[in-house]
Amino acid sequence: MNVLLDTLFNGLAIGSVLMLAALGLAVVFGLMGVINMAHGELMMLGAYTTFVVQNLLKNGPLEGLFPAYILLSIPLAFLVSGLAGLLLEKTVIRRLYGRPLETLLATWGVSLILQQFVRSVSSAFFIGLIAAVALGLLAPRLLPAAWWRQRWSPLLGVGSWVGAGAIGIGLAAALGNDRSLDQPWFSARNIDVTAPEWLRGSIDVAGVTMPTARLFIIALTLVSLLAVHWFLQKSVWGIRIRAVTQNRPMSSCLGIPTEKVDALTFLVGSGLAGVAGVAVTLLGSVGPNLGGNYIVDCFMVVVLGGVGKLLGTVVAAMGIGVLSYILGSGSLLLLWPQMPAGLNETITFFATTSMAKVLVFILIVVFLQFRPAGLFPQKGRMVEA
């Protein structure tokens, strides 16, 4: 009985991390049809925000707030990742609506850039980047207006960005001579977030040891889920989002600002990734490659659950979490000691974390053979031919 409860708790804990990570993806993919491969990197931004908040509060005038830094970093991480997502939507994604394969490639490119950005960002680099972006955006204003009416104007557009980039790189290189500005902020190493005192212990209930950090993550997941549910079902903007999802031209005719809705949806989805990033820092040290560990799993959750259904995401994440824990920890052998020898060998073969993943993914692919649209398929007449 103890083993059963223990397994269930650990499975739920894994599942809730997965669900928190997949929730934002479900919003973006389910409602907008955009494949955001940079979702994992937005999580990473959330994790790094937590790290920065912790360091700011650790030693300084605000030390009294330190125990609550993890709570403070949740809205901040939402904001940082959300704004990064908003920027991504405004610059890249909006050109690619209706072309999901292209969004996949473009966001993969963004994820590579974000990874390297976190590794090599220093003050000099950051100033150079800001200068380059500002120059690139201001170029149409700064250059004579007549230049933009020539035959070669499209080349000027490209050229101005190349020039702005060159100036930014030059500036960063010049500032980089100063040792204090050249210091990378995070470097390529992993960062560690130490959980505050009140998240370090564990609680014993009915003989099951529950680490407080895990309980905190489960609670955070629940709160996020309820918040998203409320936002989509009850709030005005949520209703608009759902309307645009169902029928874009009609919503537009009825006066819903579809572009704003797109931007908002993307912001919320990306912000949720940031919140997931906060949760992930409690599980161990995180690094620039954090995103890669989660992105495929998150997509599996969304596909298995059925696109566009939050309930599906919940069930799929919990199912995958519990199943991979049961298989990976080998607790099936503890629960059922008199297993037939053949089955026993098979279970032992898959009883590591990575092999459990193999089996779970195979099961998902097999499952999709019977239910290609996932656990909770979209019903209605909008099905593609």
Binding site: G33, I35, V92, R94, R95, L96, Y97, G98, P100, L101, E102, L104, L105, A106, W108, G109, V110, S111, L112, I113, Q115, Q116, F117, R119, S120, P140, A145, W148, R149, R151, W152, S153, P154, L155, R248, P249, T258, E259, D262, G292, V296, F299, M300, V303, T352, S354, M355, K357, V358, F361, I362, I364, V365, L368, Q369, P372, A385
Partner: protein, 400 residues
């Protein structure tokens, strides 16, 4: 390629038609003697990556199936040849070294056929093709397509990656299999003379793979593939079965990936589960995208040029490569949807020259379009439109 109708071929016409081939053959013959062995090895490796890119072009550029899991087939081909080389260079009765580390006494049953060179030569492409065929059939049968197909192939890739990573006893897990110290026809695989031969083999196979893809895409089969890409429901309603076409072309791409992986493994000296890492398979897609999807030569060029650029840049400024690669993804998607070769074929350079004013813009109605008055008026209107556009907000986003 156009077929000239005149029967008497003058040398000039012959040259005009065949110069790319003459250049390729000349380069293939000369390069091994002028490049240092290290660079030749790199070139050989990147050319072999061109074969997997050809396969991706076939399934993505022509059929519209974006597979993010070609690394599976690539690595399977690599493992097949690596095991053969390990077994071939052993004394009878010995086992490859790593088996001893994990206490394996006898060669596992599924490795035994790989001591035969003929079996291996066939297995290099048949095993990946079978895996691809099975995976493709299961996926296509359910009409899983678009991004779902991409995500599923990526998941399959992760399954194989974890499996190969976790199996220390059978396939040496994370460490992979080494081939550079193995011998092959009495020579070390890593030696310079061997490298030259491998380079020629690679060139020949790239040409063969190109010819195969060319043949597949020009006939009725190719038309069906393009139909699948452009409007699959219509093809189905016309009485064709897209599943068969998709499965076949995915199988062919798998076989090409296997051959490519085998060539790459022999030249790079080892195969490891890293060949199945998620980023590597997505990189393959970007070679094709930059070179030009739907243009076979673009896939090969993209693979060779991007990898060469990667190795050069990574030697000098390792930190910038990811930025450049990410930028390439963005550039290709937003500005160059048909890649460099596609841009070239659609008259891109001419357009740029026209923008710079060195050659006149092409005229549909020369009498009207080239009239100075009309031109002046047109420029005025365009200027006004541009001013309005920059005054108002961004142009409205594309509809879904």
């Amino acid at each position: 390629m156009t077929i000239t109708s005149n029967t008497s071929v003058t040398p000039a016409a012959f040259l005009r038609r065949w110069w790319p081939w003459i250049a390729i053959i000349a380069a293939a013959l000369i390069l091994p003697f002028i490049l240092p062995p290290f660079r030749l090895n790199l070139l050989g490796r990147f050319l072999s990556l061109g074969i997997v890119a050809l396969g991706i072009d076939l399934i993505w550029g022509y059929t519209g199936l974006l597979s993010l899991g070609q690394g599976i087939f690539f690595a399977l081909g690599g493992y097949a040849i690596a095991m053969y080389l390990q077994l071939d260079s052993l004394e009878p009765g010995q086992l490859p070294e790593f088996f001893g580390l994990y206490g394996v006494k006898a060669l596992p049953l599924f490795w035994q056929p790989f001591s035969s060179p003929w079996f291996t030569l066939v297995a290099i492409w048949v095993i990946p093709a079978l895996v691809a065929g099975l995976l493709g059939y299961l996926v296509f049968r359910n009409r899983i397509k678009g991004v779902y197909f991409s995500i599923l192939t990526q998941a399959a890739l992760l399954v194989f990656f974890n499996f190969f990573n976790g199996q220390q006893k059978l396939i040496n897990g994370t460490n992979g299999l080494k081939t550079d110290t193995a011998s092959f026809f009495g020579q070390m695989v890593g030696s310079d003379a061997m490298q030259r031969n491998l380079f020629w083999v690679t060139v020949l196979l790239v040409i063969a793979a190109w010819t195969l893809c060319r043949w597949l895409t020009t006939g009725r089969f190719g038309d069906a593939l393009i139909a699948v890409r452009d409007d699959e429901p219509r093809l189905r309603f016309t009485g064709y079965n897209p599943t068969a076409f998709k499965t076949v072309v995915f199988t062919v791409a798998g076989a090409l990936a296997g051959i490519s992986g085998a060539l790459y493994t022999v030249q790079s000296g080892m195969v490891s589960p890293q060949f199945m890492a998620v980023p590597f398979s997505i990189e393959m897609v970007i070679w094709v995208a930059v070179g030009g999807r739907g243009t076979l030569i673009g896939a090969v060029l993209g693979a060779v040029l991007i990898n060469y650029a990667k190795s050069l840049i990574s030697e000098q400024l390792p930190e910038t490569w990811l930025f450049i690669q990410g930028g390439l993804f963005l550039l290709v998607v937003t500005a160059l949807p048909d890649g460099v070769v596609g841009w070239w074929r659609q008259g891109g350079p001419g357009r740029i020259l026209a923008m710079l004013g060195s050659s006149p813009a092409s005229a549909t109605y020369p009498g009207l379009d080239l009239d100075p008055d009309v031109l002046a008026e047109k420029r005025a209107i365009e200027g006004r439109a541009r001013a309005q556009e920059s005054g108002a907000s961004q142009p409205s986003g594309a509809e879904r």
